[in-house]
Symmetry: D2
């Protein structure tokens, strides 16, 4: 959740201006849970980004980012996957627009399980099988592939930011693979 | 799709300012398809609003409206249902946040099947069984209850605005009741 | 999962004959998770049946049962809800046939997380808001309404049979209410 | 819908015996809609099998078949895809067990839109992107790739058997591509 239109040269908003707008309007996001699946479609691993956060700490996140003006959900997914996982990830973009859930991040801590201090984000959440090689870019330090049991361990859940361990649990449940 | 934050006394934006913002940022919406169901959950009728449009013509629409800053999807649904169908509609708000589809309305005519000249709207779409009495308010002239076959007739489809006859067809398909 | 066609006077199969058939053919089931929701559709409680099992022990189960020959999914849901929760439960049968998941119960213990020693059951799983009074019948001792956190506590999960605590976790995740 | 366990050497039932059982018990099926998608996940074509039917006529069908005893839904999908589309189809088996709909085929003509004279079939319906080469086998004459508009033309809809043009319309609606 650490990027905005501004990170990608979007000329529409000055940073100050965007900070202002997103304190008054919910911002449309996509969240994607990268997964490795076997030849029969069975889940093997989920991918989590390890990132250095704005406050200098380390934290784990899903692939995530804003939907731009006049951009389709599908294009936004592809753009953020390429930004986070590199150009060789070979993602299978979902064929249906139906997300497995909608995640609502509120700026007020404690109001809800999902939290983003910068904004009220409404994220369409998708499972994203990737078949290629992932080379995290930008401020991501690594992409770690974990088994469902590892991903749901207390240690990893605590490292996840914004309450995204809940979105991850929902993704695993949707896949029938919540331990 | 004819209302904005401004219609409901939202103090956050001046009209000019909101018009400006929504030409640069996708706006999060909910779309709801009101339905009457029998005691066994079987679809009986779908409800379509007849509205006088901004250009003076008549047109049909789904229940629809913006999600406000710091408002949950569920609250936005309830608010727009009450605005469009009145306080006695007794809607069954969906228990799951998973929409049956996401409708993407673009401002450029012809770019996509769904069109909204004022903005790029990303609408979470839900089925909304209503059990009470509906008394359309505001600029809606009536709420007409139609059978699936009537709703999918050429005449009605042509009266629907923004390409919403497609969202309606998707809703009926999701219910297993597309004729 | 403790009832068959035979429990309800279905004349098609003798008990021995049905026991024989269901060791050779997967049996179509419905699973329903009864829930209490607030006026805004927010989950409040989930209902779990406490039942004396075939082996004399006590265990917890979801509402569950077979789909009969020439019976719709919707009718099967209604029939099993009435059998398990009584005639005054006032369930909201789902308007869409899309289940939140499909649960596969195998007769071989350990083969999968879900287990039914009598059969291979393929269960369509639905959330079922109930608004009326529930009076468990038949071999159910009680229907207990639990908060999501209570339902996911270790104690309750261990009391659930057939691995249905996993189906329950999937239901809560689908509702965005998995603790 | 023209194959049974018997077609594949399943030793559990004699043909007569299976014909008998499936007049008394609903049979669990999978239906799959093969699709070609672009690199961005956008639907390009849907695949329909052209088959010579039992009555000697030609008709179109989806990929379809029974789930066997002790077979997972995912394995059944893979088996029927390979049977119908050949071993080089390279299907992307769905990662989630949630079907886009459940299709209920009844043996009584006119009772419902979906009809199968041999049985009451309950089919879990999935979208199936295929990336490889399809070589229809068995009694299929060809697999034809059609645009959504072609697939929904009156001519093609009339050629589809068992009412499966409705399942196809539901699939296209789920993909946001119903014309």
């Amino acid at each position: 959740m650490s990027r905005t239109a501004l990170d990608y040269g979007d000329a529409w908003f000055e940073p100050d201006e965007f900070d202002e707008v997103r304190r008054r309007l919910p911002i449309a996001y996509v969240n994607a849970v990268p997964v490795r699946v076997g030849p029969d479609g069975q889940l093997e691993k989920v991918g989590l980004l390890l990132r250095s956060m704005d406050d200098g700490s380390l934290g784990r996140e899903l692939v995530s980012g804003r939907i731009r003006y006049h951009e389709t959900v599908r294009s936004a997914l592809l753009r953020h996957v390429e930004n986070d996982l590199g150009p060789m990830a070979l993602p299978q973009v979902p064929v249906s627009p139906q997300p497995f859930t909608v995640a609502e991040y509120f700026p007020t801590r404690g109001a809800t399980a999902l939290h983003d201090p910068r904004q009220h984000a409404i994220a369409l959440c998708y499972i994203l099988p990737v078949g290629g090689e992932c080379t995290p870019r930008q401020d991501a330090l690594s992409l770690d592939w974990l088994s469902p049991a590892e991903a749901m361990s207390d240690g990893i859940r605590e490292e996840m930011r914004h309450g995204q361990d809940r979105v991850l649990a929902q993704a695993l449940a949707h896949l029938g693979e919540l331990p």
